[in-house]
C-alpha cells in the first residue's frame, strides 16, 4: 500500500478492515451505573495509570455487518473464541503469503510479539468505533477530494526523493494513532495518564508523544500557530475530562484537513475502565461531523520508551535503495 498518505492511515486501515473481516467486539463499558472514581489532591477524578486501547473493533463498520451497531453476547463470545484460535496458529499457517510478493516482505508478527492478540485486548460489543447507523467516516467534501487529488498528483514520482517525501511515521515524526483522537496503534497500544494541578498529561507509547493538556481555562493558541498534535484544552464536567483540540496542521492526523476540531470525553466507568469518546469535525473536509467511542482498560506495568529516532535504519535503507535503483537505471540508459 502507499504510505504517502500516512496521516490518513486510520481511515485506510478501517477501509481495509471493512473489506476483510467480521469484527469482534464485547461487553460495552457503559453499564448504566455511575462509578465514583478516586480523586486527586486537587479534587478532580483520578484517571492516572497505564492504559491500553488495544482492540479488534475497527474504526469503521465492516460492510457485511450492515446497520447493526452491536454484536450480541453470543456473537461476541464467538469472536473472542476465534481470536484465540487465530493466535494459536502462527502467521505462516494462518496467513500464508506467496514468496516473492510484496506481501511476503514482512516479518511474522506473532513471532515478534506484534500480533494484537498477544497483548491484553479491550473487548466491546460495538461493531465499529464510529457510532450511529452508518458507522463510517462521512464522505469527503468535493473541495477536499480535489485537494487530496492535487496533492497526490504533485507527490507522484517523488515518493523517494528525500526524507521529506516519506510519510511522517516512517520519519518517526508522528503517527495517526496518537491523534487526537487517540486510536489503537496495532501494537504497543498503550498510554499513560498523569495529572497535576491544572494539567493532564497523556502519553502514547507509540510513538512516545506526550500531550500536555491545560485544564485551567486558558484560551487556545492563536490560530496561526499550528501543531501536528494540535493544541488541547481540557475541563471537567462531573467525572468526565473533556478535551477540545484545534490548531492542527493539515498533515496530521488526517492529511488534508485544514480546520480539524476534535472533542474527546474521558469518563471513568469502573476502576479498570475509561470510556473514551470523540467527535471529529472539519466542514471543509467531511460532509458532516463523526463520532466514535471505545473502552480503555487499565494494565499492569509501565510504558516502555519508544524512542523511534533511536535507530531508524529503515528510512536510510529505503532512500539508499532508491538511489541504487536510480544509478542502475542511469547506467542502463547510458549503455
Amino acid at each position: 500500500m502507499s504510505y504517502r498518505w500516512f496521516p490518513l492511515m486510520t481511515a485506510l486501515a478501517a477501509i481495509t478492515l471493512a473489506g476483510q473481516a467480521l469484527s469482534p467486539a464485547v461487553k460495552t463499558a457503559n453499564t448504566g451505573k455511575t462509578w465514583t472514581p478516586p480523586r486527586t489532591p486537587d479534587g478532580h477524578p483520578d484517571l492516572q495509570g497505564v492504559w491500553t486501547n488495544n482492540t479488534v473493533t475497527p474504526l469503521q463498520r465492516p460492510k457485511a455487518v450492515g446497520a447493526k451497531e452491536f454484536y450480541t453476547e453470543a456473537e461476541l463470545a464467538e469472536n473472542q473464541k476465534r481470536e484465540g484460535q487465530r493466535l494459536a496458529l502462527n502467521e505462516e499457517e494462518g496467513l500464508p503469503t506467496a514468496a516473492g510478493t510484496a506481501a511476503d516482505v514482512h516479518y511474522d508478527f506473532s513471532e515478534f510479539g506484534l500480533d494484537r492478540a498477544q497483548a491484553k485486548l479491550v473487548w466491546d460489543r460495538r461493531t465499529s468505533m464510529i457510532v450511529g447507523p452508518e458507522g463510517t467516516i462521512p464522505p469527503l467534501t468535493p473541495e477536499a477530494r480535489k485537494r487530496n487529488a492535487d496533492r497526490a498528483a504533485k507527490a507522484k514520482g517523488h515518493e523517494f526523493d528525500g526524507p521529506e517525501d516519506r510519510p511522517l511515521g516512517a520519519r518517526c515524526l508522528a503517527r495517526a494513532n496518537v491523534g487526537p483522537p487517540i486510536l489503537p496503534a496495532g501494537y504497543n497500544s498503550n498510554l499513560q495518564i498523569v495529572q497535576g494541578p491544572g494539567y493532564v498529561a497523556l502519553e502514547a507509547e507509540m510513538i512516545h508523544d506526550v500531550r500536555i493538556i491545560p485544564t485551567d481555562g486558558r484560551p487556545h493558541l492563536p490560530a496561526n500557530i499550528r501543531q501536528w498534535g494540535g493544541d488541547s484544552r481540557g475541563h471537567w464536567e462531573g467525572n468526565t475530562l473533556v478535551v477540545d483540540t484545534t490548531n492542527f496542521t493539515d498533515q496530521n492526523p488526517f492529511a488534508g484537513a485544514q480546520n480539524l476540531h476534535v472533542i474527546e470525553r474521558l469518563t471513568p466507568v469502573d476502576k479498570d475502565t475509561i470510556l473514551y469518546q470523540f467527535t471529529v469535525e472539519d466542514p471543509g473536509m467531511w460532509t458532516k461531523p463523526w463520532s466514535g467511542e471505545l473502552p480503555i482498560s487499565k494494565i499492569q506495568g509501565q510504558l516502555y520508551e519508544y524512542a523511534c529516532h533511536e535507530a531508524n535504519y529503515g528510512l536510510q535503507n529505503t532512500l539508499r535503495g532508491a538511489r541504487v535503483a536510480e544509478e542502475e537505471a542511469a547506467k542502463k540508459a547510458g549503455k
Binding site: 504510505y3 492511515m9 485506510l12 486501515a13 481495509t16 478492515l17 476483510q20 473481516a21 469484527s23 479488534v56 475497527p58 481470536e83 484465540g84 484460535q85 487465530r86 493466535l87 496458529l89 502462527n90 502467521e91 494462518g94 496467513l95 516473492g100 511476503d104 516482505v105 514482512h106 516479518y107 511474522d108 508478527f109 506473532s110 513471532e111 515478534f112 510479539g113 506484534l114 494484537r116 498477544q118 497483548a119 491484553k120 485486548l121 510519510p167 511515521g169 516512517a170 503517527r175 494513532n177 496495532g186 501494537y187 504497543n188 507509547e205 506495568g301 516502555y304 519508544y306 523511534c308 533511536e310 535507530a311 535504519y313 529503515g314 535503507n317 535503495g321 532508491a322 541504487v324 535503483a325
Partner: protein, 137 residues
Amino acid sequence: MRTRLFIMATAVGLLLAAAPVWAHHAFAAEFDQNKPLKLHGTVTKWEVVNPHSWIHIDVKGDDGAVVPWMIEGGSPNSLYRLGFTKESLPAGTEIIVEGYQAKDKSNRAVGKNITFTDGKRLFLGLQAAESAPTDKK
C-alpha cells in the same frame, strides 16, 4: 482435516484484519521481494533499538569467508513484553534467518522468520509477561 481447514480459513480472514497496516514503515519500500534469502549465521550483537531491533550475524560462505549481516526484527517494547530481554540472545547463538535483502543491496535483511538450528522459533516459547493473552478479559 475439514475442521482444521475451516479454522484456518476463519483465521486468515481475521488475521488480515489484525495485521497492523500502520506498521512503522513500508517493508516493501525497504526490502526487495525479488531477493529472498536464507542465512545460517552466528549472532555477534543484538541491537535492542527502536523502532525495530537489529540482529547482527556472521555468515560463513561456501568459500569459508565470513560475511557480516544485519537482520531487522521486531519492536523492543513488544519483545520485552513477551519476556525477552537483552540477555536472551547472546553472541555466539546460531540462528537461521529467512527473509528479504535490502533494496540498496547491502548486507541487511528483514528477518521474516528466525529459528534456532533445531527449528524452534527464536522469539516464541518464552515466559509470557503480564500483558500476555491470558490476561485478556
